[in-house]
């Protein structure tokens, strides 16, 4: 064999080893660590209108919920040591234009002051889950809070950056509807994915957003509302993503890869054979 041929064999072999080696090595990487329980809400892509104001729409029952544990708010004053809502099931859909998010949670009584909220980080800056409170070494951003209260019968679209800074926005783009039955609240929030308002979270299919939840049990105990203001059930930050439309071009690239690899084999063998003959 001349040098050219030897070089070809070497190249072929290296590529082959690369393919096989890479497959083995990469395939044996451990999967990313997941906490117990859900870490993300998936907004499933549907066709047609999203169930924007129907907590009992049939489509909700076809969706696997994410479930997040909640804690009594003991992070800053005024604290509360015991809360009614211990966990929340979250489902979501979108149709490329609008999204709807359903929160389902147990609360034994239906009260005028019952309330629920969804919080998002806005833009590129990270924000602390407790109302975007000031961080000391990191410059934080705003949070966008969607707040629903039974007696209001609607959602309020709000902004906060730190405690006591929470305020309703000028542009209200969120709607919400709640339905209570047999000790369970089902509250659906909806909004266009994109609003063009810098104070709002913008949801782009395929991209991850940070989301958190809060709940208040508005039951009257001894003449006072049981949970209000900072006395509530809270979650940490979790992830949310609107499912991207399926991308079939991937399969094109897979076929291309297979064809190229097969062609490479064919020419490699032919080359070596010719080399051996001469």
């Amino acid at each position: 064999m001349g040098y050219m041929k030897i070089f070809n064999v070497a190249l072929g072999l290296t590529l082959m080893v690369t393919g096989v080696g890479a497959s083995c090595v990469f395939a044996s990487d451990p999967p990313p660590e997941g906490e117990t329980g859900s870490v993300a809400v998936r907004l499933f892509l549907t066709e047609g209108a999203v169930p924007a104001d129907d907590p009992n729409a049939a489509v909700w029952n076809t969706i696997e919920p994410a479930e997040f544990k909640l804690a009594p708010q003991v992070h800053w004053p005024d604290r509360i040591q015991e809360v009614t809502v211990k966990s929340v099931k979250v489902r979501g859909v979108h149709n490329g234009e609008d999204m709807a998010i359903l929160l389902e949670y147990a609360d034994p009584s239906e009260d005028a002051a019952d309330a629920a909220a969804v919080e998002f980080m806005v833009g590129d800056k990270m924000a602390h889950f407790a109302h975007g409170q000031e961080m000391l070494q990191v410059e934080g951003g705003d949070v966008n809070i969607w707040y629903w209260k039974k007696e209001h019968g609607k959602a309020t679209d709000m902004t906060a950056k730190g405690f006591k800074t929470i305020r309703p926005q000028e542009n209200q783009n969120v709607s919400a509807t709640g339905a209570w039955q047999d000790g369970t609240w089902r509250v659906v929030f909806s909004r266009p994915l994109q609003t063009g308002d810098d104070l709002d979270v913008q949801v782009t299919p395929g991209e991850w957003r940070n989301v958190a939840f809060a709940f208040w049990d508005g039951e009257i105990v001894d003449g006072d509302v049981k949970e209000k203001g900072s006395q509530k059930a809270v979650s940490s930050w979790w992830y949310l993503r609107a499912e991207p439309p399926p991308d079939n071009s991937i399969y094109g690239y897979v076929v291309l890869g297979i064809v190229l690899a097969a062609g490479f084999e064919f020419f490699l063998v032919r080359k070596i054979r010719r080399g051996n003959e001469s």
Binding site: M1, I6, V9, A10, G12, T14, M16, V17, T18, G19, V20, G21, S23, V25, F26, S28, P32, E35, V39, K69, A71, P72, V74, R79, Q81, E82, M121, M126, A127, H128, F129, Q133, E134, M135, L136, Q137, V138, W208, A233, V234, S235, S236, W237, Y239, R241, D247, I250, V254, V255, G257, I258, V259, L260, A261, A262, E265, L268, V269, R273, N276
Partner: protein, 241 residues
């Protein structure tokens, strides 16, 4: 199996086992891409070494050429050759797919649990003596302010702990406060989660910024009570050297 190529193959397998399984016993596991790079380098070195020390490349690669062209092959060798030819394109296809397929997993999070403290908190000593009264007072304050998250038993399992990610630290675990100096705890308790640097993801931490609620004296005494209650002792400067 005496050819130079076979020897190289054995060397590669040995190298892989070492990098993948033996080395992690002593240090952090290597990323797959690095393992692969080392194997590729090993292969290249073997090839160069063999040709430099008088062997011909022809001899080194000969078995491969014969295998690929299928000259004089019958039985198992022939079948293996066909198998390789079919599997290689499929592997390439599969690799392409796994690279391009959209991931359903949220971004990986590598939170640094014990980042470096700001300079002004390095080397501070607890100004209060370890008397039974001070420890007692610290434990009382701990029960009032810290136990809802960190647990009455110092195990991170307080009634509020379950909703938080990252979870409240478990002080009875030798991996937390036993690794730290009192000055480090003083920083963490005073400034809380929001005092962490970016690599520790301050936006996720539920640890309160206690300086807005508790005087320094209480914090130092809580630290005493915390170590005592958890059955740990702080890391000292001597151990640090």
């Amino acid at each position: 199996m005496k050819g130079p190529l076979a020897k190289t193959a054995i060397l590669l397998v040995g190298m892989y086992v070492f990098l993948k399984f033996i080395l992690p016993l002593f240090t952090a596991p290597l990323p797959a891409s690095l393992i692969f790079l080392y194997l590729a380098l090993t292969f290249a070195s073997a090839m160069i070494f063999y040709t430099m020390s008088g062997g011909s490349l022809d001899e080194f690669m000969g078995p491969v050429g014969r295998f690929l062209t299928g000259s004089g092959q019958v039985g198992i060798a022939g079948t293996a050759r066909i198998l390789v030819f079919v599997l290689f394109p499929l592997l390439v296809g599969w690799q392409t797919y796994t690279r391009l397929a959209p991931s359903d997993m949220p971004p990986a999070e590598n939170r640094t649990i014990h980042p470096a403290p700001p300079g002004e908190f390095v080397g501070l000593a607890n100004p209060y003596p370890r008397t039974p009264e001070n420890i007692m007072m610290g434990k009382g304050l701990y029960a009032a302010f810290c136990s809802p998250c960190h647990g009455a038993n110092f195990d991170g399992k307080g009634p509020a702990a379950v909703g938080f990610n990252p979870p409240p630290a478990n002080f009875s675990d030798p991996g937390t406060i036993a690794q730290l100096q009192e000055s480090y705890l003083f920083w963490r308790i005073k400034k809380g989660g929001v005092g962490l640097p970016v690599e520790a993801m301050p936006w996720k931490s539920a640890m309160p910024r206690w300086e807005v609620e508790l005087p320094d004296e209480w914090i130092w005494k809580i630290i005493m009570g915390e170590y005592d209650g958890a059955g740990q002792s702080p890391r000292t400067w001597e151990e640090e050297e």
